[in-house]
């Protein structure tokens, strides 16, 4: 597996299933959109996607939380850019990009689950953001496995 995940070099010689590339493209788009939205429409994302009652917070807390959201929102955009670079020029990096995106998503969710916000006390209704992230997790795990699954190449077999 390490040959597929960490090959000797990253180039455009991709050996996984083509479907993984088709999955990665929309994921990269969604991640880029989520990142840009978080930076540019921060208050809207906090209120609606993540269902945090920002209006009830003190001014100081609101400012600090908005700032941290924006700083954090830059990173999904950058990960999306890495995915774009992989899709265009270094397709053998595809499994690693899937793994990075999946680990990032799962770790974030795990942090939240370890100490959920008190205002989200049961009955827990997942926010829109959480639902999008659950769907992303499934797609990322599927894409990761597909990208490591070598497709049959008649040229290599005949060689």
């Amino acid at each position: 597996m390490s040959g597929g995940l960490f090959p000797r070099q990253f180039d455009n010689d991709y050996r996984g299933r083509r479907l993984a590339l088709w999955l990665l493209a929309p994921i990269v788009l969604v991640k880029a959109a989520m990142g840009a939205n978080t930076v540019l429409n921060t208050r809207f994302v906090i209120d609606t996607a993540d269902a945090i009652p920002l209006a009830d917070f003190s001014t100081g807390a609101q400012e600090a939380i908005i700032f941290m959201y924006q700083a954090w929102g830059l990173c999904p955009s950058l990960l999306a850019m890495l995915g774009l670079v992989a899709l265009i020029r270094y397709r053998s990096m595809t499994p690693l990009v899937f793994l990075l995106l999946a680990v990032e998503n799962i770790a974030r969710r795990a942090i939240y689950m370890a100490d959920p916000f008190s205002f989200a006390a049961p009955p827990l209704t997942p926010s829109t953001g959480a639902l999008i992230n659950y769907a992303l997790m499934v797609l990322l795990a599927t894409g990761f496995l597909l990208s490591l699954w070598n497709r049959k190449d008649p040229r290599r077999e005949g060689a």
């Binding site: 070099q9 003190s58 400012e63 908005i66 941290m68 924006q70 954090w72 990960l79 990075l100």
Partner: protein, 158 residues
């Protein structure tokens, strides 16, 4: 220059100045340490203490819900930082041809971070009003320049 940033393949054939690798190593150590503290997995330094002490966020003045949200966001921010640090470690040890691109991305991130700081109404917390980010941006740009500077080959004239 585009060929150095986006070569045909990312392998371990690094052609830049060795000082850039040392600079990247130091940057990654700091980044990983900061991210681990943000996530709250450092048993000797809680993320609450870091957010209050280092970032000067007055958590005591926040309500418990506000503090919860701030700490969770701080940890999420740390996860992203750690993911990037891990990618940097891979570049440093296995794919050194990726080092110039890594410096470019790291510098661009710091510059964007600083733009958010400048636009924020915050004062005196989370890096607002501090000079270290500018020093970090300068160091990353120096690293980028060094990684793009061809190193003298030792086997010249051999």
């Amino acid at each position: 220059m585009m060929d150095r940033l986006f070569p045909a393949r990312f392998d371990n054939d690094y052609r830049g100045h060795p000082a850039a690798l040392a600079l990247l190593g130091a940057f990654l150590l700091l980044k990983a340490f900061a991210s681990i503290n943000q996530i709250g997995v450092n048993p000797w330094w809680s993320s609450r203490a870091v957010l209050q002490g280092v970032e000067a966020v007055p958590l005591r003045a926040f309500g418990s819900t506000e503090a919860d949200v701030a700490l969770t966001l701080f940890a999420w921010w740390g996860v992203e930082g750690l993911a990037w640090a891990l990618l940097g470690v891979m570049a440093l040890f296995r794919y050194r041809a990726m080092v110039p691109l890594y410096f470019l991305i790291a510098a661009a991130t710091k510059i964007a971070d600083q733009a958010i700081v400048e636009a924020s109404p915050l004062t005196g917390m989370l890096g607002t009003g501090a000079t270290p980010p500018y020093a970090a941006i300068a160091l990353l740009l120096i690293g980028l320049a060094l990684s793009l500077t061809p190193a003298r080959r030792r086997d010249n004239g051999a």
